[in-house]
């Protein structure tokens, strides 16, 4: 019989998970921003939202991460490696689009050279997603062949039941099963049926758009300039995106000691690709926006057979000038025969 996790048992779950060494993380609102943050008790969660402002990405790929500490001596360089904080984590209340966003980046960070900063965290984290029953105008998972209740990247999928009193438990992976085995006695059997997932209308025909993107003739199309003319070149879309993975490596310190860090970086910035000579392969904002779209829907799928977008819609939701992937792909749809 299906199992239900009742909302009033959540505190017990958190306690149980924490006592077995887990950090429990979930959507929390603090200083006027919602993000995935560690919690002590269930009341800290903010679950009744469409999705947190910041994506789950930072739990696996922090905006800034020290990699190496160096100290330079006369005839030697001492380095100490920084590792990600170790310890098991349970992310409770992730959105399915965030969970799938993380899964989309796995092949990239594992591509021949494994980025242990990513994988150590991935291996130690159980993602418990809650299927969305609310969506807003910017949600577009269904256009990416995903859904408000897709299981990609989730270890457990919870489906809300009526009245918000709990969730129907769907175990997806062994890791999820193990995490929930420890709270098996807190679950109840139930025949209650879940609230249907939110209706997210399909915004564009992805396959057709991808065909257009793949056509080399369209690389130099006027479309790119027209669609990106109002882009101001900030990085809010890329930084809020659960799948954008670009980064910079920066040294902070002096000639004697300091720290090398891995920081988020963005293809929206002109400096991102600028050579020391001054030559810039992507010297205009339209070239940079084209790169972002092409990378997400043409190049990346060509390499890893995954669309590099999970449809969370944060890019459009937060854009200072109301641009975004949805608009661009919708406009491409209009160009199709």
């Amino acid at each position: 019989m299906p199992k239900i996790l009742s909302a009033d048992k959540l505190d017990n779950c958190i306690e149980r998970w924490k006592s077995s060494g887990n950090t429990v993380i979930g959507p929390v609102r603090k200083s006027n921003i919602s993000a995935y943050r560690p919690v002590e008790k269930a009341s800290e969660f903010e679950l009744d939202i469409v999705l947190p402002d910041l994506s789950i990405k930072e739990l696996f790929f922090p905006q800034t991460e020290p990699i190496l500490k160096y100290a330079i001596r006369k005839q030697a360089i001492d380095t100490t490696e920084f590792l990600p904080p170790s310890g098991k984590r349970i992310v409770f209340g992730a959105r399915p689009c965030d969970a799938s966003g993380v899964a989309i980046d796995d092949p990239l960070f594992g591509w021949d050279y494994r980025d242990e900063y990513w994988f150590q965290r991935r291996n130690e984290t159980v993602i418990v997603s809650i299927a969305c029953v609310k969506a807003d105008d910017f949600c577009m998972c269904t256009s990416l062949n995903l859904a408000p209740d897709s299981t990609m990247g989730s270890d457990i999928l919870l489906r809300p039941i009526n009245g918000g009193k709990g969730w129907l438990v769907e175990e997806i992976t062994d890791r999820g099963r193990d995490a929930f085995a420890s709270i098996a006695d807190l679950l109840q059997e139930s025949t209650e049926s879940p609230v249907p997932p939110a209706a997210v209308p399909e915004k564009f025909n992805l396959e057709a758009c991808v065909e257009w993107l793949k056509n080399p003739e369209n690389f130099e199309s006027r479309f790119w300039k027209e669609i990106s003319v109002r882009c101001i070149g900030c990085a809010s879309c890329t930084y809020l995106c659960p799948t954008c993975h670009c980064f910079d490596i920066q040294d902070e310190g002096d000639t004697y000691s300091g720290i090398r860090r891995k920081n988020w970086d963005s293809c929206s910035f002109a400096l991102f690709t600028m050579h020391t000579s001054g030559h810039n392969p992507r010297s205009t904002q339209s070239a940079r926006w084209r790169q972002r779209i092409m990378h997400k829907f043409n190049y990346f799928p060509g390499k890893f057979s995954l669309n590099k977008c999970s449809g969370c819609g944060r890019c459009s939701r937060q854009c200072p000038v109301d641009m975004g992937i949805t608009e661009t792909l919708q406009e491409i749809s209009k160009l199709l025969p």
């Binding site: 200083s31 402002d53 905006q63 800034t64 101001i232 900030c234 910035f269 400096l271 200072p320």
Partner: protein, 276 residues
């Protein structure tokens, strides 16, 4: 005739007779309450222009986009009063030739908007002077008052909380009409004065220096504050700088296109009570 229709007609006229090559305005956005910038270059497209009280963004930053004005042709732009002040500053700082800018001015009036008379920045001179004489509206902000009552340590904690959220997406800088530097100080790496890492320390440096660079230049259009994806109340810090410029140097940013930038000019008798 509504102001929207009035301005659409004028845009159509200017575009058809070639007086302007482009109109930078607003159009509908993704949701009913959103407005987005739009670039209209032919008379047939003027119906896309929308103008109402939801049109808030200061569009003047687009005018300093590289090479937009280099062909010496004119561009029309929809501007609120703050936008007109931005044009004055950009002109005063030699970033654009104000003769190339045709202004479609409007200002909020209750729940709606009303048109402002004039087309060239010069024609708004008196209007801007009148703004400078009544700055009180923008001065009283409950959060600023609250902050000023705090101890330095408490204020530091407040900003520490706020700046710890910063992800260094530079949306504040990109959205700001006054941030037109070809190479921002944070992008300079020889030497690198500001840490580019988005840890709280680096964020403090960045936000303090940006506020400093905007002192006496910020017109409080709110572009940065609205653009910030992590909701840092940037307006507070900029407003404090504007107040300082006014109180210490009687400087109202964007008063005229010949106004000297406050930190690039001086008076021999500037107050110096704090100097030992």
């Amino acid at each position: 005739m509504s102001i929207e229709v009035q301005y659409r007609n004028r845009a159509k006229e200017l575009l058809s007779n070639g007086e302007v090559k482009l109109v930078v305005g607003y159009t509908g956005g993704t949701t009913p309450e959103r407005r987005r910038p739009v670039f209209i270059s032919s008379a047939e497209q003027v119906d896309r222009l929308v103008l109402d009280d939801l049109c808030i963004a200061n569009l003047s930053g687009y005018l300093v986009t590289e090479s937009l004005l280099s062909d010496e042709k004119s561009v029309a732009v929809f501007l609120r009063p703050e936008g007109i002040r931005s044009i004055n500053i950009l002109a005063a700082e030699n970033q654009l030739n104000p003769d190339q800018i045709v202004i479609f001015g409007f200002e909020p009036a209750g729940n709606t908007i009303k048109a402002l008379d004039g087309t060239n920045a010069l024609e708004f001179s008196e209007f801007v002077v009148s703004l400078s004489e009544n700055p009180s509206v923008s001065d009283s902000d409950p959060v600023i008052e609250k902050l000023e009552k705090m101890s330095a340590q408490e204020r530091f904690s407040f900003w520490q909380d706020e700046f710890s959220k910063c992800i260094k997406c530079y949306a504040c800088r990109q959205a700001c009409p006054m941030c037109y530097c070809r190479r921002c100080i944070v992008d300079c790496n020889q030497p690198q004065w500001i840490n580019t890492s988005p840890h709280t320390l680096g964020n403090f440096e960045w936000n303090i220096i940006r506020a400093f660079h905007l002192a006496g230049r910020c017109v409080e259009c709110g572009n940065c504050d609205r653009a910030c994806p992590v909701n840092i109340p940037l307006r507070l810090i900029n407003r404090r700088m504007a107040v300082e410029a006014r109180e210490s140097f009687d400087h109202f940013a964007g008063l005229s296109m010949t106004q000297e930038p406050v930190l690039a000019s001086f008076k021999k008798d500037d107050s110096e009570t704090f100097i030992l």
